[in-house]
């Protein structure tokens, strides 16, 4: 196998960890939303941290191996689809990071309610289904999907 094939393989594995990790975070968060007791909500939101680490590792690997591919394959950073992908990568990571802070505060809230009688709470429910937090996470995910589309169609290449 050539070096480019190795780089392409690891670039795609990184992209898989990035997007698939986000899918896993979404599934675990959805499971937390369906629970009533704050202790169960806090427990399930705590598990999303593992998937968030997967997203972070994938994002960095996809960027690092992608940068190596740009260097080796004769593409340029100012090619439209590569520049747009990089901008979307930054957007996805930043939006996901802000959305992740919101989820972390929700977990802290759930832990507080769990320690304080573990009764269902409207405040926790509102935090779990916060439109702002959901919008940030969906926007982050859509940016990642837009990168995938650019990588496949390579407009202008």
């Amino acid at each position: 196998m050539t070096t480019t094939q190795w780089l392409l393989g690891f670039h795609l594995v990184g992209a898989f960890l990035f997007v698939s990790g986000a899918v896993a975070v979404g599934l675990l968060h959805a499971a937390a939303v369906r629970r009533e007791r704050p202790s169960e909500v806090a427990f399930l939101l705590g598990l999303t941290r593992v998937a968030v680490v997967v997203v972070g590792v994938g994002a960095l690997a996809a960027l690092a191996f992608g940068a190596s591919l740009v260097h080796r394959s004769g593409f340029a950073w100012d090619d439209g689809w590569i520049a747009a992908s990089l901008a979307l990568w930054i957007g996805s990571v930043v939006l996901g990071g802000i959305g992740g802070r919101s989820a972390r505060h929700t977990r802290y809230l759930a832990e507080r309610f769990a320690a304080d009688g573990d009764a269902p709470s409207d405040e926790l429910r509102r935090a779990l289904t916060s439109p702002a937090g959901q919008a940030l996470n969906y926007a982050s995910f859509l940016a990642a999907l837009a990168i995938l589309a650019l990588m496949i169609w390579k407009p202008g290449a």
Partner: protein, 134 residues
């Protein structure tokens, strides 16, 4: 062609995501004998059933793409083998074992191990499909 490829990769990413979620839940549940352990095993079982559906979608889109491009090669046969015998049968086994693990504690560790192996098989398949080593 590009639309099929996009949908194929997207379905495969959803498949890997469902498997990662199942693995996180199965690993967290392996030493638990309480209600949270049951909750996690139920989650892992549902995720495994979702993985079966995502695998079928990925295979269907991939075969459509292979026919469209008239693709062939050992990389394609390898990824077919990994997908059908690894991911499809593995996800079915995971769904069955995660269902049994609630009443049979001896299945809990194998369920966690199988879930992690399935994630690795999914990533290995993605590597083979991208690098096309033949």
């Amino acid at each position: 062609m590009s639309t099929l490829l996009f949908l194929h990769v997207l379905a495969a990413m959803v498949l890997a995501g469902v498997l990662i979620a199942a693995a996180v839940a199965a690993v967290a549940a392996r030493g638990r004998d309480d209600a949270r352990g049951d909750l996690l095993r139920c989650f892992a079982r549902r995720a495994a059933i979702g993985a079966i559906a995502a695998t079928i979608a990925t295979i269907g889109l991939g075969e459509g793409l292979a026919a469209d491009e008239d693709a062939s090669g050992s990389w394609l046969d390898t990824s077919r083998g990994l997908t059908v015998f690894g991911l499809l049968l593995g996800s079915a086994a995971l769904a069955v074992l995660a269902g049994l693990a609630g009443a049979r504690p001896r299945f809990r560790r194998p369920v966690a191990l199988l879930a992690v192996i399935l994630v690795l098989v999914a990533l290995a398949t993605a590597f083979v499909m991208a690098a096309k080593p033949s």
